[in-house]
Point group: C2
Chain length 243, copies 2
């Protein structure tokens, strides 16, 4: 509630890693960024940073000084309760912006799911640009609105959907973000999925098995999923009757 304005710097723990790891396949997908006004205006003020798997980009309570964009890899924002329960608010894939809190402090911790490259944009400079360029201002607003809207959908899912409905919703959401390709690469672990969907790892695993049995999906190597029956998945995700 009270903004404490702590002076702790943005977490740079894993900034200088140069590990030669294969980037997640996700990066092979079509780049989400075309030549929008934002990209041009932002190129100059961005700083490239690298993070190893599980390294924090920023932590809950850090002063919200920057906005970030995923270049490669993937990022999650989450909060951990005192007894270890964790809720993931969102996943960010290449091209996605995150950390747009625009308040005194970040309310969530952001961590790299897989080794990630991220560009950071100082908020102060971003605000300057926005004041002179209404197009950028509007883009910021629209990004915030999209975030709000997706968070609200997440809310409904967590409040009222069953485990199977949650998983179907999750898979279709991922599909929509990867140009409606039914071949999905899940950069995150089962635990991440569970904490995103408000379930346990075991329940997620059981639902995946159930979907395989019903031929809704097929799985290769636990991180490659192919959606095989979109109609059935969509019926589940939107809260229609069980089969």
């Amino acid at each position: 509630m009270t903004a404490m304005l702590q002076i702790a710097p943005i977490a740079h723990e894993a900034l200088s890693t140069r590990s030669r790891v294969a980037w997640p396949v996700i990066e092979g997908g079509k780049p989400r960024e075309t030549t929008d006004p934002m990209t041009a205006a932002l190129q100059s003020i961005g700083t490239v940073m690298k993070f190893k798997r599980n390294a924090a980009v920023f932590s809950e309570g850090d002063p919200a000084r920057c906005v970030y964009k995923v270049v490669s890899g993937a990022v999650r924002t989450c909060r951990v309760l005192m007894d270890g329960r964790r809720q993931i608010a969102d996943f960010y894939l290449p091209g996605d912006f995150f950390g747009l809190d625009w308040q005194a402090e970040h309310g969530f911790t952001a961590e790299a799911i897989a080794d990630a490259v991220v560009v950071s944009y100082p908020r102060s400079q971003l605000e300057q640009i926005a004041e002179t360029k209404p197009a950028v201002q509007k883009l910021l607003m629209s990004m915030l609105c999209k975030g709000l809207s997706s968070t609200q959908n997440h809310l409904v899912m967590l409040g009222r959907q069953t485990a199977q409905e949650r998983l179907a919703w999750f898979l279709l959401g991922l599909m929509a973000r990867s140009d409606d390709n039914t071949n999905l690469d899940l950069p995150m672990s089962r635990l991440d999925i569970a904490d995103y969907l408000g379930l346990t790892i075991e329940t997620v695993s059981r639902c995946v098995s159930e979907f395989k049995r019903k031929h809704f999906i097929s799985v290769a190597g636990t991180h490659q999923v192919t959606l095989r029956n979109l109609d059935a998945l969509e019926a589940l995700a939107s809260g229609e009757a069980e089969i």
Copy 2:
């Protein structure tokens, strides 16, 4: 996903009601609005509207043409699944703005909880004002950010908290919104609370009884609650150990 741009007008069903009902006691509380730049700029473009209990201010899928402010009464935003399951995204009390979707369509339905008076501001005019007055622009951004932040907190609660923790969180949230007065008026029904917290009406009722038994709260007439042990409630709400 696809913006259909339907031409249906904003719901005006209950606009012209003039029923002489006692307004909820909430209105007696301190007005949340001081003389901010927004208020001045907005006074001219606002339209006052009245809604009877349960009347819709706007419905899911309506074109998002206006932003609204509660003058008196209370409003909820919710979504109903096909089989009747309902999730309430937020409650809005006098002074609160709602409907700030800033997208093609409203993602949720907004309904009056108690008979309500609301001011509507056309988005087109609001955008004009914002372009010339950066202060208004910033206020819009900050309102959006606050909404996002509160939705994210809601998310964690729905994903990872127990029934008792949810109720404690809810009561403390209401308290914070009413100038930290421990005497709360709940304008909403037990069903509304249940649908906000992702529970059933019976579970909410049982938790209220449990809190009474433990002397965390005392209740008069089902809608007047007094918080009697803030420490215990805060410990619960933030996910500390059970007692």
